[in-house]
Symmetry: C2
Subunit: 399 residues, 2 copies
């Protein structure tokens, strides 16, 4: 048994769907039981969102989910028809028909459980089961969607429930140490550990969403990421124990969706600092990197980063804070990026941070903040340094 997932760019036209169908028919020689998870065709989801924005400034999220879920319903119907037409018996199942139960808030649901009986029944009858990614049904009987990376999450969760491998086919040919568009000599990783992939994904690598990798990690689902059309080897995401190459630094991620806020001249007290961050948290602002200067004359400067989407709400909060703490000065910096290096080897090897400080110094790169996790180090730098920093670090660590 195997779960194969094809993203929107892999099924954006009927011609592409037909090529993928041929590949699946080929795979039947190896796998008796095949579940195919497909996304909406091409940019369908985006155009549905744009239509909704035309009719409402703030479309009701429940109806947004109902609307968006039609995208996969179209692609699974057509894909099953194509397989049937080619003589490969197939059946299309929407999220709720596939037994995918979700919980949480509309447009950002999580998979609560999957009742695989229907899928298993059709697999037993020899059918290829085509499942709509990205969607499910909540306890109220409402159709829901899973948010970013939702189809990957569907595929990995199905593989976890069915106890098989999950193969993610996409428009890149695997997982690279650095985005090949930023560094042309980037190495494709034949194997990467769940931990490293989670870290890279959450730090900005766009091949897979962190949540899908996390599910794979939790349920020990081997994940294979490869090109949907080219017949070249992809990358495995698996347990770190065995084949993972022992490298100190495995990859480099860039996140450009970063906004840095600096509050200068904040009256220093734990209570004040807590108050500011509680205010941000209560507005659901996701604060990432935080840095604070040493107090001088009873005042500190605080910097934190968040994502650019939060800029409107941040502006409101800052106005409130300025009212409360007279004399505070606030700077917003949208011209920064977050550069992160990731590697399981960092656990046992110190000195990676020192290497990078050295690289920055040699290349006259000024960083604004630095944070470290067990297997990664992240820096905020001005976006003008991006290319220079990527090249210097990637070549130093042979990424």
């Amino acid at each position: 048994m195997v779960v194969l997932k094809y993203g929107g760019s892999s099924v954006e036209t009927i011609e592409k769907m037909q090529k993928i169908a041929d590949k699946i028919i080929d795979r039947r020689k190896v796998h008796q039981k095949i579940v195919v998870v497909v996304s909406a065709m091409g940019k369908t989801t985006n155009s549905l969102i744009e239509t909704a924005k035309k009719v409402s400034h703030n479309p009701s999220k429940r109806e947004m989910d109902l609307l968006m879920s039609t995208g996969e319903q179209v692609s699974i119907s057509l894909f099953a028809m194509i397989l049937n037409e080619k003589g490969c018996e197939a059946i299309a199942l929407t999220g709720f028909q596939a037994g995918i139960k979700t919980e949480g808030i509309h447009t950002k649901n999580k998979i609560a459980d999957i009742d695989c009986r229907k899928i298993k029944g059709h697999l037993e009858k020899g059918k290829v089961v085509v499942v709509a990614g990205f969607q499910g049904l909540n306890d109220l009987g409402d159709i829901t969607t899973l948010g970013r990376g939702g189809s990957d999450t569907t595929a990995v969760a199905l593989a976890a429930k069915l106890g098989c491998t999950c193969e993610i086919y996409t428009d890149v040919s695997g997982i690279y140490s650095v985005d090949p568009r930023l560094y042309k000599d980037a190495r494709k990783l034949s194997v990467i550990s769940y931990e490293e992939m989670e870290e890279m994904a959450s730090l900005g690598s766009k091949v897979m969403e962190a949540r899908a990798v996390e599910i794979g990690h939790l349920y020990h689902v081997p994940i294979y990421v490869a090109s949907s059309l080219e017949a070249i080897d992809g990358s495995y995401i698996k347990e770190s124990g065995l084949q993972v190459e022992k490298r100190s630094v495995t990859g480099l991620s860039i996140n450009e969706n970063v906004l840095m806020i600096t509050l200068n001249h904040v009256p220093y007290s734990s209570k004040n600092i807590a108050h500011i961050f509680m205010r941000l948290a209560s507005a659901s602002v996701n604060v990432d990197m935080i840095s604070q200067t040493s107090p001088v004359s009873g005042y500190v400067n605080i910097s934190f980063t968040t994502s650019k989407e939060d800029i409107t709400i941040i502006d409101e909060i800052i106005d409130d804070i300025k009212e409360e703490f007279k004399g505070i000065d606030c700077l917003k910096d949208e011209d920064i990026i977050k550069l992160s290096v990731v590697g399981l080897g960092m656990r046992s090897q110190s000195g990676i941070a020192a290497n990078i400080f050295e690289i920055f110094a040699e290349n006259d790169i000024v960083f604004k903040q630095v944070t470290t996790s067990e297997i990664s180090i992240s820096y905020t730098i001005n976006k003008d340094y991006k290319q220079k920093a990527v090249h210097a670090i990637a070549s130093y660590f042979n990424l």
Copy 2:
């Protein structure tokens, strides 16, 4: 409480949807509880069918239903968003969410029952409930569609279950005695009986499908048919007892989707005739008008009409019949139409047929077949006579 139904042409653009939303908000001043049934936007269903035909010569009907049902899912989502945006709380329900249970074969399902609890719950909370027409869920958990006139059927069946009036808004301004495109002086009927409307619909009038009217008849649902955008009075379909004007002839219908087959020189025996029609029935060919000449020298000529879609299967059957009965000669005539006059008054008044024969004679119109029912008379005539026959009959009976 009231059920309002808007067809595809009424919701084909967002601008049209917004106008309809304003009308519904207006109606809330009168009706506390409003259920709106909407079809897919404009020609969406047709374009989905065309896409399916591109991927498969014979698309699996189950997946066809899954594909087509996305059309209404999009329109209900957007329509509920528009109502919400205008401050009118609304919720969109797909067929299965609205509790519509179906039975039968895919693409031609019938409504088996409706579990209205969810609809009633939302109505109690003061929400306008926007229900997807044309679709439901069968016992297997498969999404199904209701075939031609499906959204009207959904609306009337919901009104029957909820015990309220059903208003059908469409691109014509009511029910006319004759199609106004054929006869410009056609009268709009303020009231028509269920029986007459069923007869007119099954004889080719396209305002409403007969099955929706039949459900209304069975459950005594008052149906009002009017223009979705113009503010002019429409037509009521209701019990014949009360307000129905006592006219001998209420309306005239034209059906152009007619194919006439004539089998000449058939060896005459009841067994042979039965054999031919059993052969047609077993291939699901819907035979309409049948006529037969008196036997001459042990042979008869048989003519029957069917719809043009059946031409391929008819050709196969005729080849078989020619093998079995040597010497049979077969003619196919696609250039005919079926003209029907309908009126409850025919039950008590004789002579309508005689009037029409006279009209035909005066106007040199040759008819090929004639059949009568309790409240209608139908003729097949060459399509070249269409305009002349419509004008002569409509002006004679003051339609």
